[in-house]
């Protein structure tokens, strides 16, 4: 079943299609390769769990913790979904499970009620 008009598979950048509740609906092989993960470690999980966000490892899930209020990625996804506007090259930072801070440059695009998330720049440790 095709849920979007533009498949992440066709993109030459790591990409994932993320639902309103931050669940990853689809990912391309470039993303899995970048994260060194299998498809079953990505699809069906929340984006924070996939990216190993520190808060996603807490008892509450990604999108449900106290830390999520300040989460740049959550806000970017929500902004894209509501505004329906393509946003390119936005730097997003978060802390991973080991406490290291990661920054990605991300491009987002609304696809029906989901958001296509394209990692435009490789992770950088600031």
């Amino acid at each position: 079943m095709v849920l979007w008009y533009r498949s992440p598979r066709s993109l030459n950048r790591p990409a994932a299609l993320v639902a309103r509740d931050l669940t990853v609906l689809f990912s391309n092989s470039r993303l899995r390769k970048m994260l060194k993960k299998f498809n079953h470690d990505v699809v069906g999980l929340r984006i924070g769990e996939v990216l190993d966000c520190k808060y996603a490892a807490s008892p509450s899930r990604c999108g449900e913790t106290e830390g999520c209020l300040q989460c740049e990625l959550r806000r970017l996804i929500e902004l894209t979904r509501i505004a329906g506007e393509r946003l390119t090259g936005i730097p997003i930072s978060f802390q991973n499970k080991s406490g290291a801070r990661k920054t990605f440059k991300i491009t987002t695009e609304k696809v029906r009620e989901a958001v296509l998330l394209i990692i435009a720049g490789l992770p950088v440790d600031p």
Binding site: Y55, S60, G63, E64, T65, E66, G67, C68, L69, Q70, C71, E72, R74, R75, L76, E78, L79, I82, A83, E85, R86, L87, T88, I90, P91, I92, S93, F94, Q95, G99, R101, P126
Partner: protein, 524 residues
């Protein structure tokens, strides 16, 4: 309670228990909805208080916004508005955390040099040590208050944090507001603010861009720092279509209440006589004596105990001498309104009980805090009659309800608007229309009309309206239906009330005075 300041008041909608994990809900928060459904209140303010908000609570926030917007006929802007409110909450939390960060480093936020030094590392620090800041916010009880308040024909959503804006911060915000005017897309706004030291780009300019898109414009947004806190507000007006439908229905209800008789003409004349300083007590007493039924009823009321007269009173001149012209005037309003509207049903009785308490509180407030003898009488009567619209709508005959339903279908009025009327919506307007129909004086019409919206009252009658508003609010506080945060601070300030403790002190004195009076009367 979970954490140090986690509490949540929800008034307008049926709360979903699943969203309340980790919070204490005031026991009456749920009752508020039942209370609305019974029709004894207007659409009440809702209030959240927390130090940090788990994202799992967002659906509840969205739902509350949706309920309020439905009242305004503005449902279609729910998603962008919810986004804006969450942005304000995130900013408020960041502002609170910023104070902790500066304090921990011994930096003075109001000093330019310290501010610049501190801001260099603040964002990185908060990102890397968010847990620490969340913990500190709880320990230091740096809370965020979110208020939903219908004022007149608009909804105000305000987010208050525990840190007052510094001049530097204020200047930055205004600079952003000016810059935001030039943007035509979110991307432009984001791109411009990416290098900002204050935020990661999803800030005030995005919020203003959203407001522009949903047709509200930057004038609907305001931010103000005062008395150790900062309040950001968004004002959403009622839709014009909705407004027109409410007006049509309010007028129809007032026009079509055929079962409601006019205020007795002889009583209206008597009230006018009591207003005339040239008229002597004996003249008024003689006029009353010409109506045997009124004489008998008034004597019965005077002797009922409320006036705590030393002995049985057998004549009107004697009664007027004892209770005074003002007392007589109060008696005429109270007696006639109750006679017309009745108080047999349990709900009516409860509404009148609330009205008497409000009247007495308004009287005491006028006497004790405002120290204005000239408004004592009006404050009492306006307090007594403030919910008259509610009493009337609640007592509508089933035939009138059916007539209103048909009228709504004919005029394409939304069923929800009609339904809300039964629950008390617009009761202040309906009450004031009826007060006009009964030729009540202007000050009473205003007291009734603005008892939930005191800041809209005319300057001339502001003191009376404020007394009624605060009296009614204290009654609601006692019943746990509202909290201190939901009250209009300019009104409290007018009575010299600056803190919650002061208000509770005033409420306690009012309650004691009322109960003392009540027990004196019961013992008679």
């Amino acid at each position: 309670m979970s954490g140090s300041s986690q509490s949540l008041d929800i008034s307008p909608g049926p709360p979903h228990a699943g969203f309340f994990r980790g919070y204490t809900i005031h026991k009456n928060a749920r009752n508020q909805y039942r209370r609305d459904s019974k029709g004894s209140s207007t659409f009440s303010p809702a209030h959240f208080k927390f130090t940090s908000l788990p994202a799992e609570s967002y659906p509840l926030l969205d739902r509350i916004i949706e309920i309020y917007l439905a009242e305004l006929g503005q449902e279609k802007i729910q998603e962008p508005l919810s986004y804006c409110v969450k942005e304000l909450i995130a900013n408020a939390q960041k502002a609170n955390a910023k104070r902790i960060y500066f304090e921990e480093r011994g930096l003075e936020i109001s000093r330019q040099e310290d501010y610049d030094n501190g801001m260099r590392g603040f964002l990185r620090e908060i990102a890397e040590n968010l847990d620490h800041f969340l913990q500190q916010l709880k320990q230091k009880n740096l809370s965020i208050n979110v208020m939903f308040h219908m004022r007149g024909e608009a909804l105000t959503i305000s987010v208050r944090n525990s840190a007052e804006l510094t001049p530097k911060e204020r200047a930055r915000i205004y600079e952003r507001i000016v810059r935001a005017r030039a943007f035509h897309s979110f991307f432009e706004a984001l791109e411009t603010s990416l290098d900002s030291t204050e935020g990661a780009g999803l800030g005030i300019m995005i919020l203003l861009q959203f407001l522009k898109r949903i047709g509200l414009g930057e004038e609907s947004f305001s931010i103000e720092g005062k008395n150790g806190s900062t309040v950001s507000s968004i004002v959403i007006p009622i839709s014009q279509v909705h407004l027109e439908q409410i007006r049509i229905l309010s007028e129809a209800i007032v026009r079509d209440i055929n079962s409601l008789p006019h205020f007795p003409e002889n009583v209206v004349e008597l009230i006018h006589l009591t207003d005339d300083p040239e008229v002597k007590i004996t003249t008024i007493a003689k006029r009353i004596a010409t109506d045997p039924a009124l004489t008998a009823d008034l004597l019965k009321q005077v002797n009922s105990g409320y006036y705590a007269l030393p002995a049985q009173v057998n004549s009107i001149p004697q009664a007027v001498k004892l209770i005074g012209i003002r007392g007589l005037r109060n008696l005429l309003y109270a007696y006639s309104s109750q006679k017309i509207l009745g108080q047999k049903q349990a709900m009516m009785k409860s509404l009148w009980e609330h009205s008497f308490r409000t009247a007495y509180y308004a009287f005491l407030l006028a006497r004790g805090l405002k120290r204005q003898r000239e408004i004592l009488d009006d404050a009492y009567v306006a307090g007594l009659l403030h919910d008259i619209g509610q009493i009337i709508v609640s007592s509508l005959h089933p035939e009138t309800h059916e007539k209103m339903r048909r009228f709504s279908v004919e005029k394409n009025i939304l069923p929800r608007i009609l339904e809300r009327f039964s629950f008390g919506m617009n009761h202040a307007d309906i009450g004031s229309l009826i007060a006009q129909k009964w030729n009540f004086p202007e000050q009473l019409v205003e007291g009734i009309k603005y008892h939930h919206d005191p800041l809209s009252a005319s300057h001339k009658y502001k003191d009376i309206v404020f007394c009624v508003y605060l009296a009614n609010a204290v009654c609601d506080l006692e019943r746990g239906l509202i909290s201190y945060e939901q009250l209009e601070k300019p009104v409290l300030g007018d009575f010299g009330i600056r803190t919650k403790e002061q208000l509770l002190g005033v409420a306690s004195k009012l309650r004691s005075a009322f109960e003392k009076r009540h027990s004196e009367l019961s013992g008679l």
